[in-house]
Amino acid sequence: MANDRNSFVFRLLLTLFVILVINFFLPRMMPGDPFSTTSADEVGEEIIVMTEEQRLYYMNYYGLDRPLHEQFLVYMKNLMTGDLGRSIYYKMPVSDVIILHLPWTMLIVLGSTVISTIFGVFLGTLSAKNRKKGSDRIMMTGMIAFAEIPSFLLGLILLLFFSAYLRLFPLAGAITSFADYSGPAEHTWDILYHAFLPIVTLSLSQLTGVYLLTRNTLITVTTKDYIRTARAKGLGEKTVWTRHALRNALLPVVTRAGFMIGIMMGGVVLVESVFSYPGIGMILRCAVVGRDYPLIQGILLVIAVSILICNLLVDKIYSKLDPRVAI
């Protein structure tokens, strides 16, 4: 047991180290550096073209002119003390930038995980119950076709239709700027109002996965002997489905939900960009464009760590749900 635990911690640290190495070197392999940016992302943004002297000065200031391995060691050393470095673009500590934007991402990622799981399970159960009937076939074909639409395209369509055309939802942002809320209820409402379309987009992109998993697991589970046993006991169809079939079929769905959070943390970049939603996805895009090395590193680290945490949680939760896995 102690041995298991040690090797587990060791593997975790090794994974983390590999991620850190990639995080560090990947941004630096991109052409250019933070001070040679000449394009402005948004119309009206000031274009500053630095002279060579200025560039060298800043390179020296941020320590980017030193050999790579030295930079890496400094990065690692600072990381140990919890210092993620300073963002070149935002001119403030990377950790502050992330803390400012991470909650928004968490909101839409967690929200869409919950929503897509609930709807996916519901539709999957419906489909499994009507297996081999027309409704199941239509639903399945529709869902699979739907899953082929990329999430950013889906977001774009939703944005154009609901926000630009129908004007039902805001075009950008997470809250109304300069709003003066009369109470927490209104505040919450405003947040949900802005988060609605991003959450719907992310949920829809994950829905088919949950739906298919639920449907197929349920179909497998209903052929199991214990379902026959439950039927034999005369418990009634409803009890058989909910207490016996669904309870077992949900095990892989829970696992999937956990992994889904991790996957969405990465996928959220595009969706946030489409909705100009100020989560870490959007600032990651800015950081990449501006070659803001410390910020890129910081965000990638946060994403990687959250994926690791999700996997850990899935393991823990699964062993609670399935007594066969419990140690």
Binding site: D225, T229, G234, R243, N248
Partner: protein, 568 residues
């Protein structure tokens, strides 16, 4: 009024490509308090009957026929109405499997679940009743809070039993309850069932492939084969004298009944395809006739409360000897009665062993039966015709004999080919090419090479074991329906004789001919014989199935013979 009645039940599984007739028209009634057994090998449709009664067959099953419970038709009830009968009136103990209990629910909860549904009692009361049930099935109530995977196979089977008893059902269906259990647990479960039945008078339908288990509990038994009932009757009668060839095969391949015999299953498999019209057992049957291919036989009553479904009325007699006597004239002009008023019967596909010490008249009897010698009185009938008149030794599918000593029964100066071909030549069977092919086939049967090199060897060049196999091939080339093997291993060493004996029994099992195996070696005969006739001074002093003769000999001489085995 019977408690449960099944009338012409047919369950056909329909897939996209074919229809599997899992149950093809079976009917039975169970009286209140009765234990009825259904036996048959896997795939015979036993479990389908159980599921059919419970209304648990998959949707792609075409079900016809009626099932009555207390005179009420329950076979066509909608699910919700059927749920009222399930568990409360008819409960089933499933075969213990890893997934027969819900893996994520505590076993106690699974046992209380039906009580809460059907008996309308409080959770606490259900739980205390569950603890009682656990004690009834000899399981510590502390296990109520464990999950199925934490229990052993035997414990899970007890949980399944407790679960079935939870709502005090009137009819208990037991589906292969002991097949996955070890011998101890199997016995414990058996005793538990007997005790429960005595105390509470459950009506039981016991389904198993384990004929010994079923017969130790049930009073009547149904033998199923390929979805049909082939034989029914009181348990004891079926065990002692099975009448259907399938039942006989089943009984004979049960190690608990034939303790000493080697294991030989019934060769062959179920007929494939649903277009098969004849008797389903006919592809494996040793006594099939033309009619068996055309239509399945009906279940017809015979004496003793038994029913049998066979176009030939059950295992047919093959050879019958009546009042056989033979005397040798001794030099002092006295007569020695070598065979003294012997009556004998051999059924189709049966292995009868005749044992006795040297000089008891076994070989003389064998020679008379094979029509090598004529009896002084009495007659031998083979397939209802007199052996000596019809000369069954001279034709295919007749009677053949293999003698004791291969060195004198095969000539040194004959090549292997000539020795084996001889009966074909003499009796002018087949063309020259046919004969060569038949010889090669026969050699293949006895595991000898059929190459030119070996065929042109002289018998004198062969070893004892090879020569005895050549002698066997000579008998096999005539494709006998009855083979008489007269002390065929006595001239061979232990290992060679074991090989020859296994070969012979293997051939018999596969080809399905009947055999009279004559030997002085009781241990050997027990390994292969279905029935044993003990011979002493020209008389048959005892006949019976080999197990009974060995374990409980009734005749003084047999007892001596059994005791004469040298203990190691």
């Amino acid at each position: 009024m019977s408690l449960l009645k099944v009338n012409n039940l047919k369950c056909h599984y329909q897939t996209d490509i074919s229809t599997v007739k899992a149950v093809d028209g079976i009917s039975f009634e169970i009286e209140e308090g009765e234990i009825l057994g259904i036996v048959g090998e896997s795939g015979s449709g036993k479990t389908t009957v159980a599921l059919g009664i419970m209304g648990l067959l998959p949707e792609n099953t075409a079900i016809t026929g009626d099932i009555f419970y207390r005179e009420q038709v329950i076979s066509s009830l909608p699910e919700s109405k059927m749920d009222r009968f399930r568990w409360k009136d008819i409960a089933i103990v499933f075969q213990n499997g890893l997934e027969v209990l819900n893996p994520v629910m505590k076993v106690g909860v699974q046992v209380t679940e039906p009580m809460r549904k059907h008996l309308d009692i409080s959770p606490d009361k259900a739980r205390s009743k569950c603890a009682d049930l656990f004690r009834t099935v000899n399981l510590d109530p502390k296990w109520m809070d464990s999950y199925p995977h934490q229990l052993s196979g035997g414990m899970r089977q007890r949980v399944l039993l407790a679960m079935a008893l939870s709502c005090d059902p009137k009819v208990l269906i037991l589906d292969e309850v002991t097949s996955a259990l070890d011998a101890f647990t199997r016995k414990e479960i058996r005793d538990l069932l007997v005790e429960l039945q005595k105390k509470n008078g459950y009506t039981m339908l016991m389904i198993s492939h384990d004929i010994t288990f079923v017969s130790s509990v049930a009073s009547r038994v149904f033998v199923m084969y390929s979805g049909r009932v082939v034989e029914t009757g009181p348990v004891k009668d079926i065990l002692v004298s099975p009448r259907h060839p399938y039942t006989r095969g089943l009984v004979h391949s049960t190690p608990d009944i034939f303790v000493y015999k080697d294991l030989w299953g019934i060769p062959g498999d179920f007929p494939a395809g649903d277009e098969f019209k004849g008797c389903p057992f006919s592809p494996r049957c040793t006594q099939k006739i033309e009619k068996c291919k055309e239509a399945p036989p009906d279940l017809i009553p015979i004496a003793g409360g038994r029913n049998i479904a066979c176009h030939r009325g059950g295992v047919a007699g093959l050879l019958e000897a009546k009042n056989l006597s033979y005397r040798y004239r001794l030099p002092d002009r006295k007569y020695l009665k070598a065979v003294d008023n012997v009556d004998l019967e051999v059924g189709e596909g049966e292995v009868l062993a005749i044992v006795g010490q040297t000089g008891s008249g076994k070989s003389t009897l064998a020679h008379i039966l094979a029509n090598v010698m004529r009896p002084e009185s009495g007659e031998v009938m083979f397939m209802d015709e007199n052996v000596s008149k019809c000369n069954y030794g001279n034709r295919l599918n007749g009677v053949q004999i293999v003698f004791q000593d291969p060195f004198s029964s095969t000539s040194n100066r004959f090549t292997v080919l000539d020795a084996i071909k001889e009966p074909l030549d003499i009796n002018k069977i087949g063309s020259k090419e046919d004969r060569l092919q038949m010889v090669k086939n026969a050699l293949e049967l006895v595991h000898l090479p059929g190459t030119g090199n070996f065929l042109s060897k002289y018998c004198g060049e062969l070893s004892g074991g090879q020569r005895q196999r050549v002698a066997l091939a000579r008998a096999m080339v005539m494709q006998p329906k009855l083979l008489i093997a007269d002390e065929i291993t006595s001239a061979l060493d232990v290992s060679t004789s074991a090989n020859v004996l296994r070969l012979l029994k293997g051939l018999q099992n596969r080809r399905g001919f009947a055999m009279i195996y004559i030997s002085h070696d009781l241990s050997m005969t027990l390994k292969i014989a279905d029935r044993i006739a003990v011979m002493n001074h020209g008389k048959i002093v005892e006949t019976g199935n080999s197990h009974d003769v060995m374990l409980s000999p009734s005749d003084e001489y047999t007892k001596r013979l059994v005791d004469s085995r040298i203990p190691v």
